[in-house]
């Protein structure tokens, strides 16, 4: 079992955070292009599902799976989107996403405080926190 990579997007589609651990294949695009493609695909998947499902309650896309990986989606009420690629058989990824979201809100808030006091926000801090959370997860390695 493996956890490959994670993307965090804001609601405009700007990639706020990216990190990878065991990624063995690159998409062959520049990073910016890849973020755009990932975000665009997620939006299309959402609209695809909305068109397909005719029941009236709200729906959220949970994940999609291919033969080698699984992409799990989480969207917060504020429009922050977290996407994570794992092994197709990984369990408990939703909980992992919630933890990452929590880490994100905490560090993003403190970063905002840092900006207001005119000091450089420490980006590597979030990176190490996410890494800490991910490496602790049983599906890592």
């Amino acid at each position: 079992m493996t956890i490959y990579n994670v993307y965090i997007f804001d609601r405009e589609g700007q990639c706020l955070f990216y990190d990878e651990w065991f990624r063995t294949k690159q998409s062959g695009l520049s990073k910016i292009q890849e973020y755009k493609l990932v975000f665009g695909m997620m939006l299309s998947m959402k609209s695809f599902s909305e068109r397909l499902a005719t029941a009236d309650s709200n729906q959220t896309v949970n994940f999609y799976k291919t033969s080698t990986y699984k992409m799990t989606f989480l969207e917060s009420a504020t429009g922050i989107k977290i996407l994570i690629n794992t092994d197709p058989n990984a369990n408990g990824i939703r909980e992992l996403l919630h933890k990452i979201y929590q880490a994100w809100t905490e560090t993003a808030n403190s970063a905002a405080r840092l900006i207001s006091s005119e000091t450089e926000p420490d980006e590597s801090f979030l990176k190490s926190r996410v890494k800490q959370i991910v490496t602790k997860h049983p599906c890592y390695v």
């Binding site: 490959y4 990579n5 990878e20 065991f22 990624r23 063995t24 294949k25 998409s27 062959g28 890849e34 493609l37 990932v38 695909m41 299309s44 998947m45 695809f48 599902s49 068109r51 397909l52 499902a53 005719t54 029941a55 009236d56 309650s57 709200n58 729906q59 959220t60 896309v61 949970n62 994940f63 999609y64 799976k65 291919t66 033969s67 080698t68 990986y69 992409m71 690629n85």
Partner: protein, 226 residues
């Protein structure tokens, strides 16, 4: 309520060549509005007058106008008694003199046109998933799960995709179902001398076989083989 909602067969270019839809009851609701303006807000979406705001008393979002004063609406147009020219639904409902009015709303359904759009949309999502793979030799989307449905897809060596959509609660052995569908396709569509490849499948034997297969799949809900 059946578990299997849709079947699609998509050819290698991304166009829909066969579709089947489970028969589920479509909710309909009659409303009489006595005064202008109406409580619900309608807009034209995909050539239908659709509720976009103000869901109320059983009229829900995405419901569309099916008839007005018992005259059926096609698209956004309908005929008022004794008139030659069709009227636009949205314009008709804007005029206070047309009230009181009885409007029949129906729950959204997927038209054949939309199915064609959805198929090509899925075809591209499938391809993008291959490109975004973090590891080598990935296939395209095999399973897509939302809170409302599960989608399973089998792509054959020749690029034909078999897609089955079930309810979120079902645990039908979709892999078996898909490979059986592939078998039927090979047996009754491909072996049919009058079938030309990549064209829509119109074949009685295929449909009969599919019907039997779906009945069995529906009854054996959860079983691994059927």
């Amino acid at each position: 309520m059946t578990h299997i909602q849709h079947l699609f067969v998509i050819n290698r270019a991304g166009s829909l060549i066969y579709h089947w839809e489970g028969k589920n009851e479509v909710a309909e609701i009659d409303k009489t509005y006595t005064s202008h303006p109406m409580a619900v807000h309608l807009e034209e979406v995909d050539q239908k007058a659709v509720v976009v705001f103000g869901e109320k008393e059983g009229v829900k979002l995405r419901y569309y106008v099916k008839s007005i004063n018992n005259s059926p609406v096609s698209g956004t147009r309908f005929f008022v008694d004794n008139e030659e020219e069709p009227q636009n639904v949205l314009e008709f409902l804007q005029k206070p003199e047309n009230f009181p009015v009885t409007v029949k709303f129906a729950a959204p359904t997927i038209s054949t046109n939309e199915k064609i759009i959805l198929s090509s949309m899925f075809h591209s999502l499938f391809t993008i998933a291959v490109q975004l793979s973090p590891c080598m030799k990935s296939s395209g989307v095999e399973v897509l799960e939302t809170t409302q449905f599960k989608l399973f897809c089998l792509q054959t060596r020749t690029g034909v995709k078999f897609v089955v959509i079930t309810s979120a609660a079902s645990n039908i052995a979709a892999d078996t179902l898909l490979s059986k569908m592939y078998e039927l396709y090979a047996d009754f569509a491909l072996k049919n001398p009058f079938y030309s490849i990549d064209m829509p499948i119109r074949c009685q034997k295929f449909e009969e076989g599919l019907k039997i297969l779906l009945d069995r799949a529906e009854k054996s809900n959860g079983a691994l083989t059927f």
